[in-house]
Amino acid sequence: MKTGIYPGCSLTGSARDYNESVFAIAEAFGLEFTQIPDWNCCGATAAHNLNKDLSLALPARILALAEKNGLDEIIVPCAACYSRLVVTQHELKKDPELKNRICEVIEMDYRGTSVILNVIEWIDKYIVPKLEEKIVKPFNYKVACYYGCLLVRPNKILNYDRVEDPQTLDVVMSKLGATPIDYPYKTECCGAGLSISRTDIVSKLSGKIIEDAEHRGADAIVVACPMCHSNLDMRRPDINKYWDTEFKIPVIFVTQAIGLAVGLSPQKVGLKRHFVEVKIS
C-alpha cells in the first residue's frame, strides 16, 4: 500500500504549521507518503459555485494523478480539499456518463479506486494503534474540539461521524490524555471564506466560538482544518477588536497536539508560526 498526500494550497501557504506537524508526526511514527506529483487546485469554494464540470474536473485530475502514480490511499489534511475530493469521487461513481465526460475534460483515465482519508481517519488508522507506547508527555489540558463545517459534511456522502455532534476528534484528544469539554460550538460556522471579503462577519462568528471555549475554561481549541485555524488564530486581532476584549486561548491543530505528546519540540510542529501565542507545550 502506497500512501499519497494532497497538501492543497493552504498547507503550502497559510497553514505551513499544519503541514510541518503532519510531516513531523508521520516521521515520528515511521510513516511515509508521496506528494501527488503535479497536483493542482481542488477548486475550493469558488469552482463549485461557478461551474459544475470545472468543480469536478479539478479534483478528478488530482485523483487521476494519484491513480497514475500508484497511490492507493491519499491523505488530505485540509477539510475543504477533503470534501471536494470525496464529493467528486462520489458524483463520478454514481454517474458513469458524467465520469466519461470529465475524463475527456482532463484528458486522463480516472477509475475512482483511491481511498481518500481525512486527517482524523489517517490518525485513527496509523497513529492511534501505536499512540500509547509513543506518548511521553500526556496532553493534560482541557480542550474544546472544533470540527467546523466540512470535516463531517456532507454526511450522506461521507457517512463519517455524527454530523451535528461529532465525536471523533474528542476521542483522539482523550487518547492523548486531554479532557474534551462539553462544547456546543463544535460545528458552528467560523465565517469560512468571508475571511477575505467580510472580516467583520468572521470576527463576529469566530468570536462566538472562541468566547464559549474560554468561558467553559478550555486551555486550547483543537482544530483539523486550515481555514478554521486561520479564522480563529490569524484573525484574532480583528476578533478582539470587534468584541472589545482580549481572547487569549490558543488554537492548535490536532497533529500539533499529537506531536507535543510524543515529545516533539514546539518548533518542530510549527507552533512558533501561530499568531496567538501557544503557552502550552
Binding site: R162, E164, D165, D182, P184, D212, R216
Partner: protein, 667 residues
Amino acid sequence: MARIGVFICHCGENISATVDCGKVAETIGKLKHVAYSTEYKYMCSDPGQTLIKDAIKEHKLTGVVVSACSPRMHEPTFRKACAEGGLNPFLCEMANLREHCSWVHEKNELTTEKAIDIVRTQVEKVKLNSALQPIKVPVTKTAMVIGGGIAGIQAALDIANTGHKVVMIERSPSIGGHMSQLSETFPTLDCSQCILTPRMVEVAQHPNITLYTYAEVESVEGFIGNFKVKVRKKAKSLDEKICTGCGLCTTKCPQKKIPNEFEQGMGMRPAIYVPFPQAVPNRPVIDKEHCTYYIKGKCKICEVVCPTKAIRFDQPDEILDLEIGAIVVATGFDIKHADFFPEYGYGKYKDIIDGLQFERLASASGPTAGEIRRPSDGQVPKNIVFIACAGSRDPAKGIAYCSKICCMYTAKHAMLYKHKVHEGRAHVFYMDIRSGGKNYDEFVRRAIEEDHVNYIRGRVSTVFERDGKLIVKGVDTLLGAQPVEIVADMVVLATAGVANAGAEDLAQKLHVSYDQHKFFAEAHPKLKPVETNTAGIFLAGACQNPKDIPDAVSQASGSAVKVAALFSQDMLTREPLVAVVNRYAPPMYSTCVGCFLCQSVCPYQAIEREEFKNRDGKVVKTVAKINEGLCQGCGTCVALCRSKSIDLLGYSNNQVHAEVMALLNEY
C-alpha cells in the same frame, strides 16, 4: 356441449368511446359454442342484469362472460345475477374491457381488436369452468384483544357487550396503556385517569372478559373463526387468588432505585411493584431482573411480610392454549426516546425531557404531585420551550410522517404549564400547526390568545447548556428568518410517535403486514381501515399509526363491530377459489410425491400433511393437503409443484392454458 352467453357492457361511454362494442358483440357471436352475444349500455343496472338472467333461461346457457369493468368492481353483482338466473355463480367470468383496454388506449381498430381478444380468452376459459360450492367453516365465538390501552379496552368492552366472550392480553402488569400516564386530555382538559379508570375497572369486572396481564402472545395458528393461540402468562411470582393487594411487600422491598417505567424514568420503584395506584389488576408483580432474591439467591423480605403468604418465588411461566375466532390488535405506540437528535441534547442535559415525561410532571399522581418542577434541581422553570416535530416530518434525520398528536399535546402542555406557573413564559417552536379535529383549532387559539403562549414558527437548530441555563437557538420564519435565541430553564421535545417495540415480531406471528415504519398495515387505506389483509384480524388504535384518543376509540368500536358481524354467523362462507391437491383411488392416492416444497412457500401456512394407511394401520403414503379455510388462492404452490399435482379451483392449469391458446390461435 357448451352454450356460452357473452354480454358486452358500454359502461356509459367508458368503454364504448374507444371500443366498437357492436363489432365485438358481433364477432364474438360467430365463435363456436357462443350461443348468445349482445351489448348494453349499463350491464350492472337492473335491466342489464335482467337481460343476463333472461338469456340464461332462454338460450339454456352453460356459461356467461360479462365483458365490462374489473372483476374487483362488479364480479359479485354478475355472479349473483347468474345465480338468480339458475346458473352456478362460478360459471360466470368477467372480461375486463375498461381498465385493461378502453381506459388505456386510443379509439381505433386495434383497440377493438384487443377487446375481442380479451373476451375470447374468457370464452375459452369459461368453457372449462366447473360449478363450485362455497366453503363453510365454523366460528369460535371468542375474540382476543391484544393490548390493554384505551383502544384495546374500548374494543373489548364493545365486543363483550354484544354478548360474546373476549380474552384480553396485556404485556405489562396493568392495563391502561399510555392514556393512564397522561395528565389531562385535549381539547377539554379533563383528567385522563378520571375518564379512563372506570373503563379499566369495567374490563376487570365484565363477565364476558377474561383479562391476562403480564402476558404475551407466543404463537398464532389457524384461520378466521378458528385461530389457535398460545399465550405466555409470565410468572408474577405470587398467587393472585390469595394476594389482597395490600401493598405491604412493595413498601418493604429493599430494592428501591429501579427507574419507574410508568413515570418514564422520572421516579423510582421497588422490585415488587404495582405500576400505579389505579392499576388493574391491583396486584404486584416481581421484576425478576432487579429482585435481590432472583439475583443473589437471598432476601425474600416480601415473602416474610406478606400477611396472606401469597409470594411464590418458584412460580413458572404458564402457557395457555386458547381457541379464538377473531383477533383485535391494539398494541399501541411508543415515542422515540433515544438521542437520535444529539443537537437537542436529550439524554445529555437533565432538564430536556420528552412529551410523556412532561405528562408525568403535570400529573397529580406523578413524581412531583402535579407541580411543574425541573428534574435537575426541582426548581419551577420560569422559561420553558416546547419543540414540536422533534423527529417527525424530517426524512433526513427522523421519520417522514407527521406524528399527528404532537401539535395538540404541545398546545396542551404549554397551557397546563401556564395554568400552573402564572408568571412563567412558554414558547413553542413549530413547523405548522396541524389541529384538524372537533374543537382542536379553537384549543390551540386558546393557548395562544388566552394563555399567551409564544408560538414561534421555525425549527430549532441546537439546544445546549451554559451557566446552568439551556440556550435554545432557532429561527423565526415569519419574521424573515430571524435567528431566535431563548434562554430557557427547561425544554420539552415532542418526539416522534413510533411503532411499539415488538410490533414487527407480533405482526410476523399473526401473519399480518406492516409498513416500513413497523406500523400494522390496514387492508385498504380508505375503505378497509380496521381490517388487516389476514381475514379475522382487525386493528384498533395507534398500532396502525399515531392517533389521538378519539380516533383510537372510534377505530376500536369499528373493529368491534367487524368482530360482532363475524360472530353473528354460526358458519362462515367463503369463496371456493382455493388450491387442491389431486386425489385418486388407491394405490395411487395422489400424484403428489410428498416433497412438501409447497409447504415452505405457502404464505398462509395452509398446507398440511395427510397420511394414508393400509388395513394394518401402516402409513403407506404421505401427501400434501390444503386447508381450505386457510388457503387464499394465491397459486404459489401450483406454480411450484414439480409433479403438477396441485390445481387452483376457478383458475386451473387447463383454464389458463385455454386462455393462452385462445390468444395464440386465429379465430
